[in-house]
Symmetry: C2
Subunit: 270 residues, 2 copies
């Protein structure tokens, strides 16, 4: 999960997403609208009998502000909460498992702030079900074939791998950039990713205000998407001054047509 | 405001109650479901341009756990936040203004916990509008008459005060007791109050469980109301084990008929 604002546990329940499936929370920065729901979520997980370790990632200050609260409010709970401070000055891979890696993206905000890039690892090809049947391949050999081996039949006939498999699904990638000023130096890291979430607090008319407040315009978000050749751009974090948020969407689409505007409860399938 | 759970600012907005009208927050104890909304509320008040001092009251631990958060999240805001720790071991008047006094009620819970008693101060009688006209009483004399003076007409005729005024409205009082075990020693302090909120986590069948968890049964809440001769009892804080909460209400009403069960968004006029 990325960020954890007040009421996150309520929104999770509304979305019918199981809180117990969350094992990593990536906080971008320590402003209240990005982290005031953390203690409630951690407490409710304890009440639900969670036993799995929860890892919370965030920039400098994370331990200073949350460790005392965890010690105070979560004493005697049945699971471990680990706080990990990450650098907001340089990109680094901070998390890896069999299927995904997570890197930090140094953002430009008033306080230490980091975005995150989620990259799926290369997947294995699929084995053709009809090949298993046709050549009577035992289950024990399926993984070998998925990793590239040919198959030799009992008669000594060699079946080349490409007849036994179909290509792996393409890997998916998602980057989250909020809150930040325009940070074009990150475009290289994000080349060709599937989805970029980029904040678009203001319209281009308010570019100065955006810069003063360490935020971006919709035009800047779209320029970022264009420079990084991403497949789709998702914009959000709109200033409440815009009663009609479609003005921000139109501004971004002028530069990067495949842009959508975020709304509460939105889901995007990659 | 009493207590401030996660999502309080959202509920206030839904209830169309102005956050800026709150100048005192009385926390009963430092469990998350009673205080995790505090930082969000204080931050939003700052964004709304609040300048009035906010006083937050609560038992021992309040400063230890909230002062660092206020220093971290609320630096540079335009109003003062004062934290006041109150004793959870003895009752004391902690707040007074022209119209109300607030006393603490030492509760019995797993952690330091205090209830609160709100008592309106004696009001002045009303002046009869027709008397003002009939005797041509100048505005400058109205307050004197409200505080008990008679009126002497230009002809020297003395009009006794009781002909000029109608009695003051009765003063109102409200006590809040949650979370707590049965605490009958407080009945004397609450004699005849208008409304008592008392937790009723369990039914009487679970009295042992209630005691083990430092909570009360509906029967105990009602017994408290009876001993204190309160006018009305409001019960709440029901365990989620009761799918049908009316069982708790009926249990209380057997002992104290004028009992109502709290629900989200409920308002009671005193």
């Amino acid at each position: 999960m990325i960020d954890c604002a007040e009421g996150t546990q309520i929104q999770l329940r509304r979305s019918r997403l199981k809180m117990q499936n969350i094992h990593n929370i990536f906080l971008t920065h320590l402003h209240g609208d990005h982290c005031f729901g953390l203690m409630g979520l951690l407490s409710t997980l304890a009440l639900l009998g969670n036993t799995a370790t929860m890892h919370v990632w965030g920039p400098t200050g994370l331990k200073e502000i949350f460790q005392p609260q965890i010690d105070f409010f979560c004493s005697g709970i049945d699971y471990t909460i680990e706080l990990h401070e990450v650098s907001h000055r340089q990109s680094a891979i901070i998390y890896e498992d069999r299927s995904v890696s997570v890197s930090t993206l140094p953002l430009r905000h008033r306080v230490p702030c980091t975005g995150y890039l989620f990259q799926e690892k290369s997947l294995l090809p699929h084995i053709r079900r009809e090949a298993i049947e046709a050549f009577d391949i035992p289950v024990s050999q399926i993984n070998n074939i998925k990793t590239g081996m040919d198959w030799t039949t009992p008669d000594g006939e060699v079946i080349p791998n490409h007849l036994l498999t179909t290509p792996a699904d393409p890997v998916r990638s998602y980057a989250y950039m909020s809150d930040t000023m325009f940070a074009p130096e990150l475009a290289e890291k994000l080349q060709g990713i599937n989805l970029l979430y980029h904040e678009a607090t203001f319209t281009k008319e308010q570019e100065l205000l955006a810069r003063q407040n360490f935020h971006s315009t919709a035009e800047q978000a779209a320029t970022m998407a264009q420079k990084a050749n991403v497949q789709q751009l998702l914009i959000g974090h709109f200033s409440s001054r815009y009663k009609d948020e479609s003005i921000l969407l139109r501004e971004a689409q002028t530069i990067f047509p495949n842009t959508v505007a975020a709304y509460e409860g939105m889901t995007i399938k990659l």
